[in-house]
C-alpha cells in the first residue's frame, strides 16, 4: 500500500514538473495605430461627424435619447469618448459580431459595419484625443 502511494506521488510530482516546464509568460503585442494615422488630419468637424451621422446618430439609435448616448453633437459624444466606451465598441470589438458598433442588427439602409477606412479614421481620431476642430 505504501509503495503504490509513493509511486503515484512520484507520478503526480512528475506531472507537475512536466506541466510547469511548459509554462511561460507571454503577452500579445499591443494594438498598433493604423499606418494611415501619420498622414490623416482628422477632427470631429473635419471627417468624423459625417461618419457618425450616417452610421450612428440616426432616428432609433444614438440621437434624441432613443438609446443611451446622443451622438448628433460633439458634446453628446464626449463622455463616452472619455470613458473609452466608444473606442471599445467600435474599434476593440470590431471583430466581435455580438458586441461591435454599428451592430449587425442596424435597420435596413444603415451600415451594419464601418469600412476599413472609416475605422482607421475613428481609431486615429480617438488616439489623437478626439479633437473637435
Amino acid at each position: 500500500m505504501k509503495k503504490t502511494l509513493l509511486f503515484f506521488a512520484l507520478v503526480f510530482i512528475l506531472g507537475f514538473l512536466t506541466t510547469t516546464s511548459q509554462s511561460c509568460s507571454k503577452k500579445l503585442p499591443a494594438d498598433t495605430l493604423p499606418a494611415a494615422c501619420d498622414t490623416l488630419t482628422i477632427s470631429y468637424n473635419s471627417g468624423i461627424a459625417d461618419i457618425i451621422n450616417r452610421s450612428c446618430a440616426y432616428s432609433g439609435c444614438h440621437i434624441n435619447g432613443d438609446v443611451p448616448g446622443d451622438f448628433s453633437t460633439y458634446q453628446g459624444m464626449k463622455s463616452r469618448l472619455e470613458n473609452g466606451a466608444i473606442f471599445d465598441r467600435v474599434i476593440t470589438q470590431k471583430d466581435n459580431s455580438e458586441r461591435r458598433m454599428p451592430p449587425t442588427y442596424a435597420p435596413a439602409g444603415y451600415p451594419t459595419e464601418l469600412t476599413p477606412g472609416e475605422l482607421d479614421m475613428i481609431h486615429c481620431w480617438i488616439a489623437d484625443n478626439y479633437p473637435e476642430n
Binding site: S23, S25, L28
Partner: protein, 281 residues
C-alpha cells in the same frame, strides 16, 4: 475485521461528488473506478443575451465538457476531458477554445473521525491545451506563435472539513497560469474559492460555490465578476446528477477563473447540469 474498523476512522463522503458546481471537491474516486462525465452550461437565462428569444438560454451551449476520470488508487485520480471553452476577456478578446484538459488530484490528508486530523486536503493540477486552428490575426490569443501558447494550467490546494452528515465546507486557494495573454492582461491569476454542501435528505443536497480572483486586473469595474454558483445534487446510487445555476460560462478552472465576465445582477447566469456514471474496471 480490523480493516473495517480502520475504514471508519476516516471521514467519508465529505462531498458526494468530485465537483461542487464548478469547484473541485476534496473527494477522489475509489481505486479502479472509472467515472464518465458530461457537464453542460447553457446560455444566459436573462439579460441582453437571454430571455424568451433564446428560450432562457436553452438555445445556446455556453460550454460542454465530456470525459472520464479514473481512480488509480483510493487517493489519486487522473482525468482527461474535452471542453469547448467559453472564456473571453472583458474587452472581448476570446480566450482558449477547443480544450483538451488533463487533470490529476492527489489526496494528501484525510480527516479523521477521532479529531486527529481536522481536515481533508487534496492537491489538484490541470493542464488545458487548445487544439484550435492557429489564426493569422496577431492580436488574437489563437495566433499561437509557439505550441506552448496553446496551454494554460491551474494548481489548487483543496482543504475541506465535514462538520456533520449535513454540512461540509471547503476552501480552495488556486493559481492559474495562462502562457499567452492579451497585452493588458497578466499571465498569472491567484484566486480563492469556497464551496459547501448542505444535505437536505439522504438523496438531495444543496451545493454552493464561489471563486474569487485575487487580482487588481479582475475587478467588477473592469468587467470581471466572481464565479458564484448554487445547485442541487441528487444521489441515485450509481449516478450523481447535479443541476445548478452559475454565472460562469466556462467549466474548467483555466477557463472560468480568469474569464468570468458574466454578472448575476444583469441576469447573466445560466442553468448547468452534470451527469456522471461510475463503472468498475
Amino acid at each position: 475485521m480490523l480493516g473495517a474498523l480502520q475504514a471508519q476512522e476516516y471521514t467519508s463522503r465529505t462531498f458526494k461528488d468530485r465537483r461542487v458546481i464548478n469547484t473541485n471537491s476534496v473527494e477522489t474516486l475509489a481505486k479502479k473506478k472509472l467515472d464518465i462525465r458530461i457537464t453542460h452550461r447553457f446560455g444566459d437565462i436573462a439579460g441582453a443575451a437571454g430571455g424568451f428569444q433564446t428560450f432562457f438560454g436553452f438555445e445556446n451551449a455556453a460550454d460542454v465538457l465530456i470525459g472520464a476520470e479514473y481512480g488509480a488508487t483510493d487517493n489519486f485520480d487522473i482525468g482527461i476531458y474535452r471542453s469547448k471553452g467559453a472564456g473571453s476577456t472583458a474587452d472581448g478578446k476570446t480566450g482558449l477554445r477547443q480544450l483538451v484538459n488533463a487533470s490529476a488530484k492527489y489526496k494528501l490528508l484525510r480527516q479523521r473521525n477521532d479529531g486527529g486530523m481536522p481536515v481533508s486536503l487534496a492537491l489538484y493540477g490541470l493542464l488545458s491545451t487548445s487544439t484550435a486552428k492557429k489564426t493569422n490575426n496577431q492580436s488574437s490569443i489563437s495566433s499561437f506563435p509557439d505550441f506552448t501558447d496553446r496551454m494554460a494550467m491551474t494548481f489548487q490546494v483543496i482543504i475541506a472539513r465535514k462538520f456533520s452528515d449535513a454540512l461540509s465546507i471547503q476552501l480552495t486557494p488556486s493559481y492559474t497560469h495562462r502562457n499567452l495573454v492579451t497585452h493588458d492582461d497578466e499571465n498569472g491569476v491567484l484566486s480563492i474559492g469556497a464551496a459547501g454542501r448542505l444535505q437536505l435528505t439522504k438523496v438531495i443536497g444543496i451545493l454552493a460555490d464561489v471563486t474569487l480572483p485575487v487580482s487588481g486586473q479582475r475587478t467588477s469595474p473592469k468587467g470581471y465578476h466572481p464565479s458564484v454558483g448554487i445547485g442541487f445534487d441528487i444521489d441515485t446510487g450509481g449516478h450523481v446528477f447535479q443541476i445548478n445555476l452559475t454565472n460562469s460560462k466556462g467549466i474548467v478552472e483555466t477557463d472560468y477563473i480568469p474569464y468570468t465576465t458574466s454578472d448575476w445582477s444583469a441576469g447573466q447566469f445560466r442553468i448547468g447540469f452534470t451527469i456522471s456514471r461510475l463503472f468498475n474496471l
